[in-house]
């Protein structure tokens, strides 16, 4: 754990914290949607520095955590097929499927590779014309341009052996789902800065108005988070509910138009199942029919049954902010980052893993 003075702009963090303490008069629950922000809040000990009135609730903003079990099983199934090279981001490999994770498939001889970028997968496809290369394309809006570009690059190169298994989710519909759930009583949102770098902030104004809730687009560093929380608390105390942009040094209101155009040309908005939450209408992307040849969902058959979720994992409640990770009976017992029962314990951006590492850090300090 760190002390405020060690932060970049530590004095500024202290000032914002002081200002939050000064202006807060009642209890507020604020949800940060982005897993990167959860990670930063927990890792930097900010939760402990906030006044008791301000309760941070951790949202569903970890794409790895919300990827349905069945899709992971499909990826594992494909990876085990002869002649397939399965690629994805590191976090995705350790997520437990109903039988195996991709990493366990790899241990059994499957060709599974961790990549930094889907564009590298296209290069692998070019270098291995006798193999089928599949990229397990998970992510929020931030990651969509890269996944879309990989398809366009493969098309330009005339590749017949590249496909993506799409598991794309969108942030605003998830915020709506949280607001529609009565058990999740949220008073304000910090919206994810890097998602808005791509998509702009236009979608959030109407949400703020419809649900009468402040939404502040926020970065992920301590000073950003604390300022974003202050802006939210100020609105709440004044009974305002507006969209504000704390992260304007990076996020332009219109986002990145080139990226949006590429996303639109490759992906269409579709309903998506969120692990632990259920199907949310218009909450993800699928490849447009023109790109069917690059759609691993259509290109391959998956003779596997849909497996039930683990009965012990309460990830759905954690992802909607209804329960804290440590309220899960398995937290730190049967479920640890080494042996995760559910996805939020796998990814460094998942709430359960963030709390687990933090609890360990506290013990070391004590």
């Amino acid at each position: 754990m760190k002390f405020i003075s060690e932060y970049r702009d530590g004095d500024q963090v202290a000032l914002y914290l002081e200002e939050i303490r000064r202006c807060v008069t009642q209890n507020w629950s604020i949800m940060e949607v982005c897993g990167g922000q959860t990670h930063s809040l927990v890792k930097n000990g900010i939760l402990q520095l906030l006044p008791p009135e301000v309760r941070m609730v951790h949202g569903p903003g970890c794409p790895v955590c919300v990827t349905p079990l069945h899709l992971i099983d499909q990826a594992v199934y494909l990876a085990m097929q002869h002649g397939v090279i399965m690629c994805s981001y590191g976090d995705m490999l350790r997520v437990p499927g109903s039988k195996y994770s991709l990493l366990e498939a790899k241990a059994q001889g499957a060709d599974v590779r961790i990549l930094y970028s889907p564009l590298e997968a296209v290069a692998i496809a070019q270098a291995n014309p006798d193999k089928q290369v599949v990229f397990f394309a998970v992510g929020f809006e931030t990651t969509a341009p890269a996944n879309a570009l990989s398809v366009l690059h493969a098309q330009r190169a005339g590749l017949k052996n590249y496909a993506i298994l799409t598991a794309h989710v969108l942030v605003p519909p998830a915020m709506e789902a949280v607001m529609e759930d009565e058990a999740a009583s949220i008073d304000g949102f910090l919206a994810a800065g890097h998602v808005c770098t791509i998509m702009g902030i236009g979608e959030y104004g109407p949400l703020a108005a419809r649900y009468r809730i402040p939404i502040v687009v926020t970065g992920f560093e301590p000073v950003d988070l604390v300022q974003g929380i202050l802006m939210t608390v100020r609105q709440l105390e004044r009974c305002e509910y507006r969209l504000e942009n704390q992260y304007s040094r990076v996020v332009k209101p219109e986002g990145n138009p080139e990226a949006q155009a590429v996303i639109r040309s490759v992906f269409a908005v579709s309903d998506r199942e969120w692990r632990g939450i259920g199907t949310i209408p218009s909450s993800g992307y699928e490849l447009r029919p023109e790109f069917e040849a690059f759609d691993a969902q259509k290109k391959f058959d998956y003779p596997i049954e849909k497996a039930p979720e683990s009965a012990e994992c309460i990830a759905g409640l954690v992802l909607k902010g209804i329960k804290k990770p440590q309220e899960c009976p398995q937290f730190g017992k049967k479920c640890t980052p080494q042996f995760p029962l559910g996805a939020p314990m796998v990814s460094s951006e998942g709430a359960c893993a963030a709390y687990y590492h933090f609890a360990q850090a506290l013990e070391t300090l004590a």
């Binding site: 970049r8 982005c34 897993g35 990167g36 930063s40 890792k43 930097n44 903003g61 970890c62 794409p63 790895v64 981001y89 590191g90 976090d91 590779r113 961790i114 990549l115 930094y116 970028s117 889907p118 564009l119 590298e120 998970v138 992510g139 929020f140 931030t142 990651t143 341009p145 890269a146 570009l149 690059h153 330009r156 190169a157 994810a192 890097h194 770098t197 791509i198 992920f220 560093e221 040094r249 990076v250 332009k252 990145n256 080139e258 990226a259 590429v262 990814s347 951006e349």
Partner: protein, 86 residues
């Protein structure tokens, strides 16, 4: 996976018969490739935020350096190095 990392464009080349601009981007001591298709205005010497191999916005030098230092502090850059070795 969700964070974008700032780096400096050292050189730019084109691929697919000039259709795609690709940059070598310096992150501290590491060089990685990034597509510039989302940033037609980006030029050599610019600082850009790179997310999974794609540059998504141009940022100023001071912001880039401060953010990079912060990411290095919290260990996010290690992840980049790890992934480079695969």
């Amino acid at each position: 996976m969700c964070l974008a990392i700032p780096g400096k464009i050292s050189t730019i080349e084109t691929r697919y018969d000039g259709a795609v601009r690709v940059a070598k981007v310096l992150f501290g001591g590491i060089t990685k490739e990034a597509s510039l298709e989302m940033l037609p205005q980006a030029k050599e010497g610019d600082y850009v935020l790179v997310h999974v191999g794609v540059a998504i916005s141009v940022v100023n030098e001071e912001e880039a350096q401060k953010t990079f230092e912060y990411l290095a502090q919290i260990g996010e850059i290690d992840e980049l190095i790890e992934h480079t070795q695969v």
